[in-house]
């Protein structure tokens, strides 16, 4: 039982980080219906700025700079590329974001080179002991931050003009435009927000229990894909739920891999995708996603 608890708590804490990444996908998808593969490089960009600046200006200032930088990169990608891409389908735009991601990731990994960069966070490798269970402080913070951000987004979507514009655009972009919503601004702001979220996620992805930022960090963004999808690509609550489900599934499957040997060793990585498929078969728009309206 203690093992199960330990794994569960670990899974939830990993899931919080996935949720933060997934939230970035969700914000962009909500506003533009684009699946953003550039998210991996936004992560890398945010993490890189934090890693490079923290020895110079301190952790918190570096964090702020990293968030700002990633937001800027996100906004630039939207403004310089996606806005100008005249393509028929969102699928093609998704492929464009793959192209942008390749560009950015190649350059950023070239900058990072072969180093492993620490982010200079104040939590270090401290852990909290909750009865028989231990959990890294960074992960507790991540969980709190993810929950806070998701609540903040829920409130913002409900009560601010930006949120109403975003929801209106998400539901029906053309009608939103007819109401005077400036779609360009909505999508620009969504990209900037997603960039900022990516930087926050990068922080928690690169601190303890992982050793730091390096060229492989971006790969973790992949795990947030099933999280975002199974929660529902347009749902903030879904991002949290999806992140937690992926985190818990992965951790439990890894932790019990000896018992699950018949599924093959290393099932932890494939498991979230299997869960995702099952959920999509039952609910094609994810757990909390809105059914894609029949639009012609």
């Amino acid at each position: 039982m203690a093992v199960f608890l330990e794994l569960l708590v670990n899974g939830i804490s990993v899931g919080a980080v996935y949720a933060l990444i997934a939230l970035g996908f969700v914000v962009i998808f909500k506003a533009t219906e684009v699946v953003n593969f550039t998210h991996a490089s936004l992560l890398l960009a945010g993490g890189y700025v934090i890693a490079r600046l923290h020895p110079l200006i301190g952790f918190w200032a570096a964090l702020a700079a990293g968030i700002a930088a990633a937001a800027l990169v996100g906004a630039l990608v939207e403004f310089l590329i996606l806005r100008r891409a005249h393509v028929g389908s969102r699928g093609v735009l998704a492929i464009v974001t793959i192209g942008v991601d390749i560009l950015l990731t190649t350059e950023l990994t070239r900058q990072i080179g072969t180093e492993v960069l620490a982010l200079g966070d104040p939590w270090g490798d401290r852990v909290l002991h909750l009865g028989p269970v231990t959990i890294a402080e960074t992960r507790v913070v991540a969980l709190a931050v993810a929950a806070a951000l998701i609540v903040a987004f829920l409130l913002a979507f409900k009560f601010t003009g930006w949120g109403v514009a975003m929801r209106a655009t998400a539901e029906d972009a053309e009608t939103a435009a007819l109401m005077g919503v400036r779609l360009g601004r909505v999508s620009l702001s969504a990209w900037a927000v997603a960039g900022a979220l990516a930087a926050v996620a990068a922080l928690f992805l690169c601190v303890f229990p992982t050793p730091g930022l390096d060229r492989g960090t971006a790969a973790a963004a992949m795990k947030a894909f099933p999280a975002a999808i199974l929660g529902g690509l347009d749902s903030t609550t879904g991002a949290l739920a999806g992140g937690l489900i992926v985190g818990v599934t992965e951790t439990l499957m890894s932790g019990y891999q000896s018992e699950l040997a018949f599924l093959g060793r290393g099932i932890g990585d494939a498991a979230p995708f299997l869960v995702m498929i099952v959920i999509l078969l039952l609910r094609p728009s994810g757990l909390f996603g809105t059914k894609e309206p029949a639009r012609v």
Binding site: I81, R90, A94, V96, L103, T106, E107, F225, I277
Partner: protein, 409 residues
Amino acid sequence: MSEPVSEPVSEPTSEAATPVRDTPTTATSTTATPTAGTPAPGASRPLLAVPGITARTLRLVLWLAVVAVAVAVPFYLEGFWLQAGLFAMSAAIGAIGINLLTGATGQLSLGHAFFLAVGAYSYVYLSTDLGLPTPLAAVAAVIVAGLCGGVFSPIAGRLKGAYLGIATLALIFVGQHILFNAEPVTGGFNGRPVPPMELFGLVFADTPELVVLNVPFGSLERLWFLGIALLAGVAVFARGVLRGRPGLAMNTIRDHEIAAGVMGVPVARYRAGVFVLSSMYGGLAGVLVALVFQQVVPDYFGMLLSLDYLAMIVIGGLGSVAGAVAGAAFVSLLPQLLTRYSDALPLVAEPGSGGVSPAEAARILYGAAVVAVVLFLPGGLAGLATRLGRVRLKELRWAKSAPAPASRR
């Protein structure tokens, strides 16, 4: 209100003679801008007098040249180029498949690499373990890939857009898990050696030795012809699909799914069917790439491969066979060219010297190509080629009052 009847409100414009509804001829004339790239014989108006002959002649000369080059290549180029060419051919076959799915039908798939894996591993398993003759094993491998696509098609038919795209990611991760773990079939992380194809007594391997016209014909030279034949066959087939009624239905599903349904296109069946067809193309690409590799290893069939395929069709041109081939050639040859000629290229630094290495330059160029094509070159490389060279030919065809081909994008 004193003058109840009078002149029409709309004044005739200079284009008044043009009917409102476009006939194919006028549709072309809006896009057709005669350019310098047109071959000389077709460049002048008078040819319209004998449009059929001229157009056919031009096409014939073109294809003649293509075939001649394709046949001559193994006699001149060294193994590196042949292998690069074979990778490009395999990529082209796979890219045609995903272009049917993503380009023509609008279904995003990130799982194409999985079907390549199915094709490659099935070929090995069927020919080695089950002892099927290799050509039969290859055909069966393609069918197995199609079956796998069919198994996934309930999902493919149900999901669309982003959801389908990411659901297909699952194929990659789950697929690789199986490749690594189902050792009796897949050989685990080591993969398995690929038995050479044997067709009408000809073995596609280095032994027994074969010398054709004084040139030693090793496996690559022999495979070259197999690759050309396969590519030509599947390209013609895909072109038929795209230009026929299925292609029209696919495009309608992509552009206006509900309208397609209203018009009686069995949307779900089509989506599933195209998924299966695209999987079979992937499977065939996998068989060819396995024959070239001579050993299948699980690492190869990862997500990067899938992303490469998407980049290919965007760069080449969505929804067209020529686009898929052009994009495949671009994406698979670029890194090899850059690596090979890194010494001579001013912008590319020697590996390890700290500058932009060839591999990085290739990735940057190919990322940039995806972006540039979408921003500046709608229609991709194939669209560019069409604009530069084929305009006249098309016009000639239409001048013959043949029905317009289905819109290809």
